[in-house]
Structure formats: C-alpha cells, structure tokens
Symmetry: none
Subunit: 372 residues, 2 copies
C-alpha cells in the first residue's frame, strides 16, 4: 500500500485509468496450433517480446476434450487467447494501457501471422474513463458521474499527442469549432470559450483597473488569461503543470488565447499548483481553472486534497482578495456540495452561479468567494 500523501503525477508515473483493448476473432485458423498449448505459449511470448511489451507471467489451460486458453499478464495489462480448434477459431484480447496502444495492434498482427486466420474481425474499446467502443471520428467527453454523455463528431483531428501528464487532442467540430480535450475531458471550445472565460472572470470585474496581480491556476489554454488581461491588471501568473498544453494552445487555439501569452504582463509558471502555492505569494485575485475531479492523479482522498489546496490558495491571497472557480456540471451534485462546503470553511461571501455552456451540453456551476 502506497502512503496516501504520494502524488503519483509528480513523478510522471501515474497509471491513469485509461487503456485500449482490442477484441479480435480469428476465423479459419491453422488447426494445428490451436490445440497445442505449448506452441501457443511460445507464440505469445515471442510476440510480446517482438512488440516490445513486457511479459510478467503466463497461464494456460487445456480443455477437455479440446480447446486451449493462454493468458499472459504483461506490464502493460494482459493478452488472452481462447481457442476453439473444432471450429478453427480463436478469440483474442489485447489490453494495454493507452501509451502502448499501437503495440496492441502490432501484437495482434503478429498473432495473425502465426495463427493464420482467413478472416479477422476486430472491435476496439477505450477502457477506463470513458468506456467507449471505438467509433472513428467521434470523441466522448469524460462525464462518469452523470446520467448522460455528450459525444462530438471529429470533422478533423488537428493535434493528438501525449505529454508527460496527459493525452492532448485538438479537434474541429461543426457546431463548436476547435475543441481541446485533455484525457478525453473537454476543456474549451472555440465557439463558446468566451462564455466560459467571462464566467470565470466576472467575480473580478469590480476590481477592474485595481488588480495588482492575478493568479490563474491551470488555464493552459489561455482563454481565461485573455479575458483577465482586459481588466488591465498589473500582472497575471498562469500556473500550469503542462507546458505542452500551452504550446498546443499557442499553435492551434489562437482564437481562444489570441496573443495573451505574449503579453508583457503575463508570467507563465510551469509548476504543480500544490507545490507552487507555498504561502510566499500575495495575489489580489485567483482563478481556479483546474478540475474538481483530481481522483485520477492523486492517491489521497478528494476532500482532503481539495481542502488542503483551498487552504493553500487562501494563504497566497491578499486580504479581501477574490477567488473565482469553475466547479462541475449542475448534475454533479456531490462535487457541488463538496466544493461549496469547503469554500465556506475557508472563505467568505461564497456565491454559486450557473451558466449554460453549449459545448458542455449542460449548465455549468461557477463559484466565487472572498478572503477575509
């Protein structure tokens, strides 16, 4: 058991709950191999090695009167083969964590070469969050707590890559324009980014022209930054852990960040906010543009994590300083209740407002409060 205070993401070691599973049916295979568990194990081990996957252990079982199951546990998850020699058939599963997804297909092709099916049928499934049967050209927003999902058509994939922290995708969609997804979680869309960004910045408006320094926690897409700069602040610090998101935004999302990152009042800090907020700062206002669902990258309890983080935010705010936060969909009742309780514990004048963000497909909750 790993101690609760270890934050896996800092080490870049996290096994996020995302994976890729290929379910394949091999029809009319070479009969000879299908009932030979030794041959199957040899093929499996050699294939795993050839595809640069890591064999951890193997178990086989021969059925009476016929048929073999061979399962390999690999560092990247598992591979299972069930054979039905009487039907010259094999069912194959290759399950890998997302970073190894092309290796799954490599291994499948290796097995095809050895078992020689006349026909192969494949279903590809995204495992973890979301659980989704691959439909090319669609992306489903990560929304596990709600009773509904929104799925977006990908008219063009403009960028797809993996940083040390997450998968980053920019797609083009007919209704919402360019859309940024981090680990399949929709962040912002070109057509309605202004609605989200304005909601985030609204609590700061009464201090327009009187904001010496503002901190944006997260916000690597630059949309909130662009909106804050309109208030004529002295300086704005964007504290984001992932430099690559900022680079992607500057390249593909100029209609969201414009030239905000090049503004001389902008100060980009590549850091984990949990470490950055150390009581040494004194911001006039702070905007929380991070997730309220850190479960995938923390090992401690969510409430304890957010409680500590909110305390750190308070410590780095000036007295009478203002905090603005995005929260969750209006249907994520548990999160909204949790955030409201935590804010009341640390801050005053806690206000919740909701606003329809079309690309999210639902009303979104925002919160604001004051440090006394």
């Amino acid at each position: 058991m790993v101690a609760a205070h270890i934050f896996i993401d800092r080490k870049g070691l996290a096994m996020k709950p995302t994976g890729n599973q290929i379910l394949a049916e091999f029809f009319d295979c070479s009969f000879n191999i299908l009932n030979d568990s030794e041959a199957l194990e040899k093929i499996l081990a050699e294939g795993i090695d050839a595809c640069h996957l890591g064999l951890v252990g193997m178990t086989s079982h021969c059925y009476d009167p016929i048929g073999v199951t061979s399962i390999a546990v690999i560092r990247e998850s598992h591979v299972a083969i069930h054979t039905y020699p009487e039907a010259r058939h094999a069912s194959v599963d290759v399950f890998t964590c997302s970073r190894g997804s092309h290796k799954s297909m490599d291994l499948l092709h290796y097995l095809e070469e050895k078992l020689m099916p006349a026909t192969t049928r494949i279903v590809e499934v995204s495992r973890g969050n979301p659980l989704e049967v691959a439909r090319t050209n669609w992306i489903t927003d990560d929304n596990s707590s709600a009773g509904f999902d929104v799925r977006y058509r990908i008219d063009a994939e403009l960028y797809s890559g993996s940083s040390r922290y997450q998968d980053i995708k920019v797609i083009e969609n007919q209704d919402f324009g360019r859309m940024l997804f981090l680990d399949n979680d929709l962040q912002i869309a070109e057509r309605d980014a202004h609605l989200y960004n304005e909601a985030m910045v609204n609590p700061l408006r009464e201090k327009q022209n009187a904001l010496s320094s503002v901190a944006i926690l997260g916000g690597g897409d630059g949309g909130v930054l662009y909106e804050v700069l309109k208030l004529n602040p002295g300086s704005v610090s964007v504290i984001d852990i992932d430099e690559e998101v900022i680079e992607v935004a500057k390249t593909y999302l100029r209609s969201i960040c414009y030239s905000a990152f090049e503004d001389k009042r902008t100060n980009v800090v590549i850091a984990d906010v949990f470490e950055y907020l150390d009581g040494s700062h004194s911001f006039e206002a702070m905007i929380y543009d991070l997730t309220m669902h850190p479960e995938s990258f923390i090992v401690m309890d969510r409430e304890a994590y957010l409680d500590q983080l909110f305390a750190k935010m308070k410590a780095d705010l000036k007295s009478q300083g203002c905090l603005s936060l995005q929260c969750a969909s209006e249907y994520d009742y548990r999160t909204i209740e949790l955030v409201e309780n935590l804010l009341r514990r640390h801050f005053s004048s806690v206000k919740l407002t909701k606003k329809f963000i079309p690309s999210y497909g639902s009303m979104w909750m925002f919160a604001s409060c004051i440090k006394i």
Copy 2:
C-alpha cells in the same frame, strides 16, 4: 492433439466459438482493496465459486508503484481485473462461453459488492461469431444533423413496444427522470417537461380566458395539453396519429400529463393531421408539437410537405389566430431557416425564441406567428 475430423459439436460437447464478454469499469471503488493483490485474489476466487464457475488457475502482478492485475482462468474462459488505486478505479473483464452468460453478470455483481464502486459502466460483447457489441443500458438520441450526440443511461426501462407507427420507449434516467423516446428520438423528460411545455404555450398566454378552442397537433404525451388547460380554454383537441403513445403517457408519464386526458374540455382525435386539417375547422390557437423532420415518413420533399401543412394549419385557424411551434435544436440551421421562411410565407408577426431544455442538451428553437 485431437484429430482434425472430430466435430465435437455433434456430440453436444462443443465449445462453440461463441462467448459473452462483459467489459466493466468501476469508478470510485473502495481504495483499500485495490492495491491488495491477496485480497483481490480471494474475492475473485470466492466470487467464481459463488457464481458456480470453475476456477482453473490464477495469476497476479503488482505494479510499481501502485496497481494490481489479477487474472483467473476459469473453465468457462477468464476473468481479469486491473486496478488503478490512485484513481480508485478498476477495469474488469468477464469472458464466458455463452451458456454461462448470466453467471458473468452474477460475478460482476459479486465483484461490485466487494469493490464498492460508486458508478459502474458496462459494455457487453458477443464474442466468437458474430463479434457484436451490445449496449444494453444506454440510448442515444437521434440527432443526425448535428455535430454532437447525447446519450442517456437507462437506469430502468419502464416500457418498450412498437405501435403501427413507431417504437415507443419510456426509460428512467438519473438526471432527467422518466423519458419518452419515439424511434429513439427523445420527446420529453419528466424533470424539464415544464420548460418545454411552457415555451410551447407562452404565445397563447395573452389570450388567457379568451380561447374558445385550441388544437394541439401531435402532443400525445399530454404535457402541452396539461399546460394549455391552465389557460382556461373552451376546448382543446389533441390530434395525434398514434393512440398507443397516449396510452403509454397515461400509464407511465402521469407526472407530465397528470389528468389532462380525462379533462372534459379535452377532445382526443386519432388522425393524421395532414388529413384532419381540411379547412372545416376554426381554431382560436394551434400548437405544432410535431417534428420538423418528417423525412422518414413522407415521400415528397420536406419543404413541399411543410409548406402544404402550414397552409392547411392556416386554413383551420381563425383570423387573428395564433400558432405556436417547436422547431429544432439551435444547431439545426437549415431547419430553422426553412421553418422561418415558410412561416413568413403564410403568417404574420413571426417570432423565433430559444430556450435551454436540459434533457435535450442544447438550446431549442420555438416559433410563433399570427394569421392575418
């Protein structure tokens, strides 16, 4: 090695190349068990036994720094659990030959009881021949023209049947309550039916207490009828082609129609509006609660069909009579443009308004106009 000519299935012994695989994602599990391979193996072994499956062998692997894979080979195929303790997440696979398919689900429920996920998502796959994905507990709204789809989780299916005209389904969803689908097209949901119905009736409000007769075209769920009756009309005719929709509403959607169908001012007409509107009527007001996408049941051009229908509606309205219509999602630009043009051709004071209907996941366009 079994000789190639043995056809096991003739003897009733066959392991046919058919199986059933449940892919499940467990969200927000009990943290303590997820990184404990011994506990996982014990749960797996006991569950396999409790569900009358046959354990053959088990392999586990603990990942560094965190995470466990436990795989059991069973007589009926295999069970695999991959845990992501840092995210309180487990991915579970249960693969069994088809005869044991209810046992797969039993085992899944057993594992749920032990790992205690807050939410479970499931994809069921028919393995072998055919390889097919069954999604038993989701329904996707038919929304082909937009760049996004909304998919709803079915917490319970309350009614599913086919009338002469369409498939009718009533489901229960955590966020929207009871929901009515006709041919997979979402009609109305319990939680926000009032928002839709009020938008439909709003254009008639200034004639409150002065409406001698109102016609609702479509509206078999009774929600608009319920809302119109509040305006104290002389009589309301509901003209719907499908009697079964009305029966389903009276049985399952009482929180939408209440006792509106039993009101003595209500007159239900089972008819095709295209035939019913024959110039012999003289309504004070009319509400169009039908689709603007009749393409699936007409053979003529959509524009020509709607043009004729709008002319018929006008002919059966009194002078100064009011027409209120639902149109389409705000993203269905072509339909909105078409409807607006057709209305301007036949009517005066054409107004379009939009309103967010949460269960539709988008802004919805409504129109109103006057016969001069």
